[in-house]
């Protein structure tokens, strides 16, 4: 697989624990936020999204929280499994000049230990 993300911050958790991955964004005009998961050698895959008119959204085992006051986004993974090991990116979409731009954060590596 591709050796990207070697210098990313890493979150190490035990299997079965809950994981929280944080992300800060800078543009107050962003109105749509997405979490992606990237496994080695693959492109990013969608996990969950949230619009700026929401504070929380839940999916299967995942929850995204949005705090617009401090421009902070978090991804919570319940009962973390070895298959959750990957690099996680937050992305924010800004509608600028009449068009959508999608900007990614630097990413966090999640390492799940048995």
């Amino acid at each position: 697989g591709e050796s990207v993300g070697l210098h990313l911050p890493t979150l190490s958790v035990q299997e079965g624990d809950n994981s929280i991955i944080n992300c800060a964004y800078s543009n107050s005009a962003s109105d749509y936020f997405i979490w992606y998961k990237q496994e080695s050698g693959k492109g990013p895959q969608f996990i969950i999204d949230i619009r700026s008119n929401m504070d929380k959204r839940q999916g299967q085992r995942v929850t995204v929280l949005l705090n617009k006051t401090v421009k902070h986004l978090s991804l919570q993974i319940a009962a973390t499994q070895p298959g959750d090991s990957a690099v996680y990116f937050c992305a924010d979409q800004m509608f600028s000049g009449g068009y959508n731009k999608l900007i990614f954060g630097a990413g966090t590596r999640l390492a799940v230990h048995p």
Binding site: V4, H7, Y36, G43, A91, Y99, L102, G107
Partner: protein, 111 residues
């Protein structure tokens, strides 16, 4: 995956040579994006397109040009490849009002 294909998947080229990467979609979506991914930097936007012949620069556009002569293809060209352009390149398509879908990536090595 979501009707998006990148080619080639791997390429080694010499410094100073032109290189073109292709992104092809079967979904007829308006938005297409090119990103590069490097250790410690995540995905950085190079260029994006919002329609045929409509493109704009991203945050790391220097040394790259793009073209979109038809809806389904978005081409990324390195006019004169440099070692700093060694990277993994990802194309993405984005339907209206929903998330973007990514291709499998192209690993480019400039020697």
């Amino acid at each position: 995956d979501a009707g998006i294909t990148q080619s080639p998947r791997h390429k080694v080229t010499e410094t100073g040579t032109p290189v073109t990467l292709r992104c092809h979609q079967t979904e007829n979506h308006r938005y297409m994006y090119w990103y590069r991914q490097d250790p410690g930097h995540g995905l950085r936007l190079i260029h994006y397109s919002y329609g045929v012949k409509d493109t704009d620069k991203g945050e790391v556009s220097d040394g790259y040009s793009v073209s979109r002569s038809k809806t389904e293809d978005f081409l990324l060209t390195l006019e004169s490849a440099t070692s700093s352009q060694t990277s993994v390149y990802f194309c993405a398509i984005k339907p209206e009002n929903t998330e973007a879908f990514f291709g499998q990536g192209t690993r480019l090595t400039v020697v």
